[in-house]
Every structure is written in C-alpha cells, then in structure tokens.
C-alpha cells in the first residue's frame, strides 16, 4: 500500500499546426511540416474517445490559435466536460518573447475567454519556456495555477516565484509522451518507462501528471499509441488508493487543504 493517496491528472497539450506556423506560411504546412494537421484529422478524436471510455476528465492546454482555427474541437472538449486552460497564443517561446510577452499572454487569455465563455484558470508555457515576467503577468491576469514546472511531485505555492496567489501543478518529463516519442523511441520503451515511473511514485503517493499530445510524430494520436495510453491508464487506475482529478481541481483542493487527496476513483 502507498503511504499516501496518489492522484493522476491527465493533461493534453492540444498542438495542431501552431508549432509549424510560427516558422512557415500556410502553404508550407504539408508533408514533413504537416504532422500537426493529424491532430484535427484524427488524433483529437482518438484522445477524446479514450478519455470517454475510461470516464476521465482531463485538462486541455490549448494554444489560443488552435482554438480559433478549430473551434469545433474546443466545443467538443467542453461538451465532454474537460477543463480548458491556456497554452499561450501560437507556441511562442516566452523566454524569447521580450516586451511582447504581456500582449501575447493577454491576447491568448482574451481569445480563450471569448471562445469558451469563461476565463481560463490554468496555464502551461509552450515548450515549458518562461521568462521572469511570465508568472507576474499570469498572476495579474487572474490565473490560479501554472502547470509548466518539473521540480516536484506535489503542488506548491508560486508566490516566491512571482506568481502571487498561484499554485504550481508540476509535471514529470518522463510522463510526457513527447519526451520519448520526440527521440523516436518505441512504444514498448515508452510504456515501460511510464510504468516504472508510476510504480515507484505510487509507493510514496502524491501527484502524477500524464501529458499527451494528439499529433502523429511526438504525440499519442496514432492507433497503436492510444492503445498504449489505455494500457497505462488501466495499470494506474486499478491500483489501490489512486484517483484522478483535473489540474484545476488538484490546485483548488491543495489550496483548500494543503494536501493532494485521492481524487475520484
């Protein structure tokens, strides 16, 4: 038995073509620059139906551009009851955004608020890159939590880092599909890594954030890979004292009680 309860958050970084659009015009987004279109064509529906099958609510980190380009997908995500959080505007590296950063984050916030009908409460930095201004800007915009750091297995307060009033929901790079698929590792290695990460973390209890991408290169959108995610979820959710919550729910529960509860079974 684990010493404490374990909570799983499933997060989905909704990457379509915004990554490539930063560097290439629309007419270049074909062939090797076209992996992002797999998200809207196929990957999104695969991730959706897996979450539905397992009865899970996830947190989708959505670049505002994707929400604007694929509003039907955002409607589906909301209709399924998932949480929508901000993931910047178009996959900008915020560490390099300079004085445009405030405008970028403000614009993303405004777009997502308009498209979803309420302001997003959570944020994850594109590429995990932040500047010293990112958290203060997010705090001013009213964000309640960030999910970009990779330095803990429990939520913590961000006041000391400039995110006044904010909570951090840290992730683990080995539970981000893109880490190993981005280096072209096999399905078997990815599943083995995830299971070893989970089994050891389960002994201690705490928070586990799984991060998926619906793309067909560094993500889990392909049929074979969504099958692997299903096997991992079944491994996790059948263990004792494990539950799941959205990132926003974990942040709120931690703020209320200073603890990671087991969440919903």
């Amino acid at each position: 038995m684990p010493r404490q309860a374990c909570t799983l958050c499933v997060s989905v970084n909704f990457h379509g073509t915004s990554l490539e659009r930063q560097n290439f015009p629309h007419e270049k987004l074909y062939a090797k620059f076209g992996y992002g279109r797999y998200t809207g064509n196929v990957g999104h529906q695969r991730v959706r139906s897996l979450l539905r099958d397992r009865g899970l609510k996830a947190t989708y980190f959505v670049p505002a551009y994707e929400a604007q380009a694929q509003p039907w997908a955002i409607e589906e995500i909301m209709a399924d009851g998932h949480e929508i959080a901000s993931h910047g505007f178009m996959m900008e590296d915020l560490g390099q955004a300079g004085e445009k950063e405030g405008e970028l984050l403000g614009q993303a916030h405004e777009f997502l608020t308009r498209l979803t009908g309420k302001p997003p409460r959570g944020f994850r930095a594109p590429h995990g890159q932040m500047s010293a201004c990112t958290l203060p800007i997010l705090s001013r915009l009213g964000y309640f939590y960030d999910a970009s750091f990779q330095d803990d297995f429990r939520p913590y307060a961000l006041d000391g880092d400039g995110g006044t009033g904010m909570v951090e929901i840290p992730q683990n790079e080995m539970l981000i599909d893109a880490t190993l698929y981005g280096l072209n590792h096999t399905h078997a290695r990815v599943l083995k890594t995830w299971i070893e990460e989970f089994d050891a973390a389960w002994e201690e209890g705490g928070l586990l954030v799984l991060t998926l991408h619906p793309r067909s290169d560094y993500g889990s959108g392909r049929a074979s890979r969504i099958g692997l995610v299903a096997r991992f979820l079944d491994h996790v959710l059948t263990r004792e004292n494990v539950g799941w919550q959205t990132c926003g729910e974990v942040a709120a529960a931690w703020r209320a009680g200073g603890n990671v509860g087991p969440g919903r079974p």
Binding site: A31, V42, H185, D217, S224
Partner: protein
C-alpha cells in the same frame, strides 16, 4: 470517419515501400560518398537485391521509390525491380530534400524521363525525398500524369489530394509516417535494436488492422540509417510472417491502392480541409 471500403475480402491493405536512397543522397548534399559517408552505396551493392529476393520468396508486390540518379547508376537493377512486377515510382533526382523553387519542374521531368527510359513505362507515384513539397510540385506531378503522392503525415487513410484548400482531380494522397513507420528514426535517432523495432511495427500493424486500415511501411536498403543489413532485413521477413497470419490483410503496390481509391474518388474526400 470516412467510409473506407477495400477490395472484397480485404480488411487491411499493406504497402511495403523501399526508398532507393543510394549515394546520390550524399552527392546531392555536396558530400563525397566515401569512408563512413558511403552507406548509400550498399543499396546498389546488395540492399535492393536483398529486398527483391525477399519479396520474390514471399510473393509480395512492393513499391520502390527510386531516385533518378540511382536509376542512371544501376539501370539493370532498376529494370529488375520493374521486371519482377514491383512498382517503380519517383523519389527526386539526387534526393533533393531542400527548396528547389522554380528549378523543381525541370528536375521532376528529368527523373521522370530517366525512370521511363529505364523501366519502359512512366512512374505514376512520387514520394518527396526528405518530406518537402509545394503547390508547384503537385501541379507538375499532375501535369506529368502522376496519380498519387505519398508524402503526407496528417492522416491514417488515403484521401483525395488537396493543396491549399483545393482538391486535386484524379490524384490521391497515400500518407506515410516518418515518425513511427519508417526505419530512419529508429536506426538514426534512437539507435534501437531491430528486435525492438519489429515489436513496435507489429504493434502498429495490429492497431491499424483492427481499425480496418492502411499500413504503409517505409524502408531504405542502404546501411547506416536504413534496413539493408542482415539483422535489419531479417525483421522484415518476420514482420511479413506476422502479417501473413491475417488472411484478409493484402499486400498491394501503392499505385494499385491509388487506382482502387480513384474508382470512387468521392468516397475518399476529406470532410474538412485544415
């Protein structure tokens, strides 16, 4: 989802595709194919023949994407590919994986003429060397009478080709995936042992088969990043044996898949163009 219909009795089509990738890959990049840069010479010395022998033993029709320069260098070998009933399709002149601009149509025509002269018939399929293409590429291929391109990574199934919001009449897109169904990433990026690559491709096949799909595997007969070696070609034999367990999985040439789809083009139209 589109209403996929394969030929009667077929649940999943399987295309084994081999990109010739000879020393022209290096020469085209102004690198001498000598010493450790000579991997591509193996395609002509033994890699292509190894796959011809394997496909002959297994009685499998396959597709070879041949660079024009390789066909000039190894005309007898390329004739043997066509003579064995495999499809010979185009793959650039010297595997140009960079922007060609206005020079592209002339190069596509050059390779087209070389392959036509060597094999006795015009190529009808094209795969981008290195995975780039433009509106000009597509227009030129259409003008030369091509019926499909196999360079997109944005779908699991063939679809009626489009470029920049326009559907292309009588022209199919037969997607491939250079991230999961290609030897290059595993042998050049993650340096994975062949047995683990086999397990990965078997998982890919099983998942695609269950969805009633289209399995398109890209191999390179060279050493280095390819599958030309004994160890790496051995797993292809084992993969074929795995697929052969399913009597309704059918090995097809890419052009035959394209022609099957083009019998009822409307069935393969994308619901939405992104």
């Amino acid at each position: 989802m589109r209403n996929i219909v394969w030929p009667q009795g077929v649940k999943c089509v399987v295309a084994l595709t081999v990109d010739s990738d000879g020393p022209c890959c290096e020469i085209g990049q102004k690198v001498l194919p000598l010493g450790a840069r000579a991997h591509g010479r193996y395609s002509g010395k033994g890699g292509i023949q190894r796959y011809l022998d394997l496909f002959a033993r297994e009685n499998i029709p396959a597709t070879f994407y041949v660079c024009g320069h390789d066909a000039e260098a190894w005309p007898d070998l390329v004739r043997a590919i066509a003579g064995a009933g495999h499809e010979v399709a185009a793959h650039g002149y010297m595997h140009e994986n960079f922007e060609l601009g206005e020079a592209e149509p002339a190069l596509l025509e050059k390779s087209h003429d070389i392959l036509t002269a060597v094999t006795g018939g015009p190529p009808r399929g094209w795969r981008s060397p290195g995975g780039r293409k433009s509106a000009l590429t597509m227009r030129t291929l259409q003008r030369l009478g091509y019926r499909y391109d196999s360079s997109e990574k944005d779908d699991d199934f063939p679809y009626l080709a489009e470029f920049d919001g326009q559907h292309l009449e009588g022209f199919m897109e037969l997607p491939n995936n250079t991230s999961s169904l290609d030897d290059f990433p595993f042998y050049r990026v993650s340096y994975t042992p062949p047995s683990e690559v086999l397990a990965h491709w078997i998982e890919e096949f099983d998942a695609i088969y269950r969805e009633g799909g289209y399995f398109n595997l890209t191999l390179h007969p060279r050493l280095g990043y390819g599958s030309g070696s004994p160890a790496r070609s051995a797993i292809i034999r084992r993969l074929i044996a795995h697929i052969r367990q399913y009597s309704d999985a059918r090995f097809m040439r890419m052009i035959d898949i394209a022609d099957w789809c083009l019998r009822e083009p409307a069935r393969w139209a994308h619901g939405r163009i992104l």
